[in-house]
Symmetry: C2
Subunit: 242 residues, 2 copies
């Protein structure tokens, strides 16, 4: 299959669709891009591959619309099981990355998690055209992967958001935090997160923790501070017992 | 003062002390290093600068031990006010970075927050010897700075820790998350955290959020998931009103 050029239908107009579309074209796929909704052209029947990159709740209806085709039909969602696809040849191609409009992403370094029924060989080949990191994973485990990604991407980004709010209330520019944000991310390349942890909670420095909670005006942030601090300390005690 | 070589006493044997000690030596200070506790040699009386880099609760007693000296006495803590130092010439030199034993840090790119009474000129000069980013900040605002750093460093690292726990429970190596961790940190160099946010909470995708909470076995993690998701959505609504 090394030299063949696939015809691929890509459905969706969000960030995942636009980044995947670019990578597929760079891998010499002949890509027909169709918007997620209000399509005026019919979906071609004879493509080798159909990639459904729409919002989670719309995947099943797009798949139903594609219907019974000879090609392989895959979706790209972390939390949606492969079984929502009614096709005989189906699969999942889940790229583990946060995609942003206008920010180029090096797809070759994005881990692609794949699963298929009736199209394993094709999907593995396409995935390896796009990325150096291709990992088979079934729907059950992929749910945990997506959950873990929510913690280390969305929830981490929210910690940055809270940081920015606290700083802006005291006229301190967010940029002063970029070196520590970068180093915090770099550290877990060579240390486990448990080894990398520092700060008042891991030392259980109660006077600092109490003073810091009192600085927080929002009740939900005080609660967050408390729960995360306890969780950090809980892990510390656990690791000492191990 | 450009060519003079300062004599500096550095007290402490933690990560901040060892990284600052190295940077001071590279800036040609004659550094006398003294451990935080159980010192067998007396503290010299004639140094230009005394840097107290010990744990927060020990700063006051070390400062009392130094006593009345002609040199400038500073501590390095984010949450401790300058006023704990009884000296006439005193100050704070707070490096905003996470220091780890054995990990070299480029001190020139570490923001140094400085405050002084009776030693402004000397402290600004020493800080500029060490770093390109020197920012005057009083004790009151520095408390918020330190609180913000707890969110974007300690709490972010705990998100990584939870990520690792979820993955290891399903035999998925933590390394697959490094590309998304790095990109999440990189994004806030050019987007605000609010602009950078993605995921189920910002879209308020209730079916995914409920399913994900049910995957979490630990009650504290379910609670954390809920509070952070609500907070993400709250910020989203706020930003739409602005």
């Amino acid at each position: 299959m090394g030299t063949c050029s696939y015809s691929t239908v890509l459905i969706g107009n969000g960030n995942v669709a636009s980044h995947l579309g670019l990578a597929l074209e760079q891998a010499d796929h002949r890509v027909v891009r169709l918007g997620g909704r209000n399509r005026t052209v019919p979906i071609p029947r004879d493509a080798d591959l159909y990639v459904i990159a729409v919002t989670d709740s719309a995947i099943a209806s797009v798949a139903a619309e594609i219907g019974d085709v000879p090609g392989l039909v895959v979706h790209t969602a972390g939390s949606v099981p492969m079984s929502v696809l009614p096709q005989r040849r189906k699969g999942v191609l889940y790229p583990l990355q946060t995609f942003t409009k206008g920010r180029p992403v090096d797809m070759r370094s994005v881990p692609l998690f794949v699963e298929s029924e009736g199209g394993e060989e094709l999907l593995l080949h396409v995935a390896s055209q796009l990325s150096d990191i291709v990992i088979p994973m079934d729907s059950e485990r992929r749910r945990y992967l997506h959950l873990a990604a929510v913690f280390c991407n969305n929830f981490t980004n929210h910690m940055y958001r809270i940081t920015e709010e606290l700083l802006s209330q005291h006229d301190i520019p967010f940029e002063v935090m970029l070196p520590i944000i970068d180093e915090t991310a770099r550290k877990v390349h060579s240390l486990t997160p448990a080894q990398a942890q520092t700060g008042p909670a891991v030392r259980w420095n109660q006077s600092v923790m109490e003073a810091q909670q009192n600085l927080l005006e929002r009740e939900d942030l005080r609660q967050l501070y408390q729960i995360i601090s306890k969780s950090i300390h809980h892990d510390k005690l656990q690791s000492q017992q191990d």
